[in-house]
Symmetry: C2
DNA sequence: TCAAAAATTGAAATCGCTTTGAATATGGCT
DNA sequence: AGCCATATTCAAAGCGATTTCAATTTTTGA
């Protein structure tokens, strides 16, 4: 079922049919109706490749994912937010996975050169992100999920990691904790640096000295978190509170605490960052988990919106959003134990 | 940088350049070299839309994802397996997300009608899967990850869920367990039905009666598993062993066991199904987790291969793979306690 | 009623590639 | 040298849409 067939079937020219379907004004209302009806009846949909070639738009946005090592569950959540919005505009999401760093840049080059996508989404940037610089060099529009220190203007949406961690840390300090461990993301990633900034700021505001042994940087996995927490709990004096970078991390820390024979919420406190996974609810943990919360799915949906604006011509310099991070207190954070 | 530009730059016709790049035999070796060099030097890559229009191939495979509710972390793993292989063939992966069942079928129709993809991948089928039937009606090739009862031939790759659960259940029975709880996937999904079959077969082989109160069906989330395990542990006599459908489920069960003041591996045993997530390792749990194991990432990579074979003309009826499921015994499964 | 303006439709060019069928070079043999 | 087979190259026709520009019909107003 091609446009041509539909046009012949209707006894009209391709031009008119095309216009009728695309809502151009210069077509009689009666004709438009007739065309629309026939189109839906015959199940006509324009051939995507032809449409793209003719319009010059790829009708797709791209994401390049580095292995599953860092994205994992976050990615699915983000994608479902993004996808919901994009589907309404008939825009595809093209995902490419790569193993190494080098492959990654090559993948961006490939996508750009073959004009497979109109825009891209960049994740988990570093402070000086070469992928972002590359995309700007290649002149392909993108929205950054996070932030980076570029001299050039970048469209971004980020959450206030610094503020969130500062508040969480301050709260723990208020509760009397002095040895607060921070299980942070991979060194170099902007969000991890920002979180450390918030943590440090809170500590120094109360004159609490910083102990590097209490800070760990790694991917957010249950397993690594377990190991790091385990070894931190062997320190003397041991930490009385943990700031966990994600819910996976929290699960690992939780296990380490239990294994050490300690009780979460009394012997040791914890505040975890919650990206709001539907399958891992802080409210249903035991004890319920105090969190700094920001929905990654909503971020995905919003980035879709920003992407559309960007493609619609909105200047990059006007596309910046910093989302606040809520601090939700539940049972896992309590007063520091008295020794 | 279009083919035309490249051709002019080289003083050749588009025809020759195109042939040189696509490895056709009728082009002088010296010319081919010259073309290849210029192409890589000038960073030429064919425009994806034009190429697709000309060849009639979309150069992409599609997946439709229902919310994140059921896929979640499994999906990222699968994708990274799939993506690795597809990238080598320059085939895109187009993901579409949908919220409802209706939207889902519509999404398949849309993808098919607009010829956006050459083939699709179907996930978590039900015993009588209407999506599979639809795709066959639409005559679009697909590989099923799982199995379905269709009268028509379907290309599929599945793991031996029945065998895996039968062995796991038998093992627990050998250890003296008689009240074995099964936290299974959503009712109606083939894999869940298959697992139940294996569970039932093992029970009846030993003459152990089946208690419906010990079987739960739900999505594989930490939270739901926690609740179900919690209420099952209140039964008297209580279950002495759990079969957990996924590692997420296992974490929920684990929490319920701890909360009930019981010890995993002695008071209560557990064998969980492990899809092999890099960030949730059965070996690093505490106690280490006994599992039925099968890598979902490998499945993704293999399905990519099958998809390519399918597109290469291999008959659907020859594309069936049933992968064995390993039973890996660790600390979480021990002899039944004596009352 | 009729010319001019407005509304509606259509023919053909275009997007950037592949591929068919024809044209030109090159080489081998007698 | 001359002829035929073979090796290379090219011009032009698609692929299925959009869009420009021209043609036709309808409406409007004096």
């Amino acid at each position: 079922m091609r446009l041509k067939d539909l046009a012949e079937h209707l006894g009209l020219s391709q031009t008119t049919v095309s216009r009728a379907l695309n809502g151009y004004p210069e077509v009689k209302e009666a004709t438009r109706l007739r065309v629309a009806e026939a189109a839906s009846e015959m199940g006509y949909r324009p051939n995507a490749s032809a449409l793209r070639l003719a319009t010059g738009r790829a009708g797709a946005v791209g994401m390049v994912l580095r292995g599953a090592d860092e994205l994992g569950p976050h990615m699915s959540e983000f994608l479902s937010g993004l996808g919901g919005r994009m589907a309404t505009q008939d825009i595809d999401i093209v995902v490419t996975t790569v193993a190494s760093q080098q492959e990654e840049l090559a993948a961006y080059r490939r996508l750009a050169a073959s004009q497979r996508v109109d825009a891209m989404i960049l994740h988990s940037p570093t402070l000086n992100d070469e992928r972002a610089e590359l995309l700007m060099d290649l002149n392909i529009p993108f929205v950054l999920h996070g932030r980076t220190n570029s001299t050039r203007a970048v469209a971004w949406l980020d959450i206030d990691n610094t503020g969130g961690l500062e508040r969480a840390t301050s709260h723990l300090l208020d509760l009397g904790h002095r040895r607060i461990a921070l299980l942070n993301g991979v060194k170099g990633r902007t969000f991890a640096e920002h979180r450390e900034l918030g943590y440090m700021a809170a500590l120094s505001a109360r004159g609490v000295s910083f102990d590097p042994a209490l800070v760990g940087n790694s991917a957010f996995t249950d397993e690594v978190a377990f190991r790091m927490a385990q070894s931190m709990l062997e320190l003397r004096p041991r930490p009385t509170a943990f700031l966990a970078g994600s819910m996976m991390t929290a699960l690992g820390v939780f296990r380490a605490i239990r294994q050490a024979g300690l009780e979460l919420g009394t012997d040791v406190s914890m505040i975890a960052h919650d990206d709001v996974f539907p399958y891992l609810n802080a409210d249903n943990m035991y004890p319920t988990m105090s969190t700094t919360r920001s929905s990654i799915r909503q971020a995905g949906a919003r980035i879709a919106e920003l992407l559309l604006q960007l493609l619609g011509g909105k200047p990059v310099s006007e596309i910046h959003e910093l989302w606040p991070v809520e601090l939700v207190l539940r049972e896992s954070s309590g007063p520091a134990p008295l020794f």
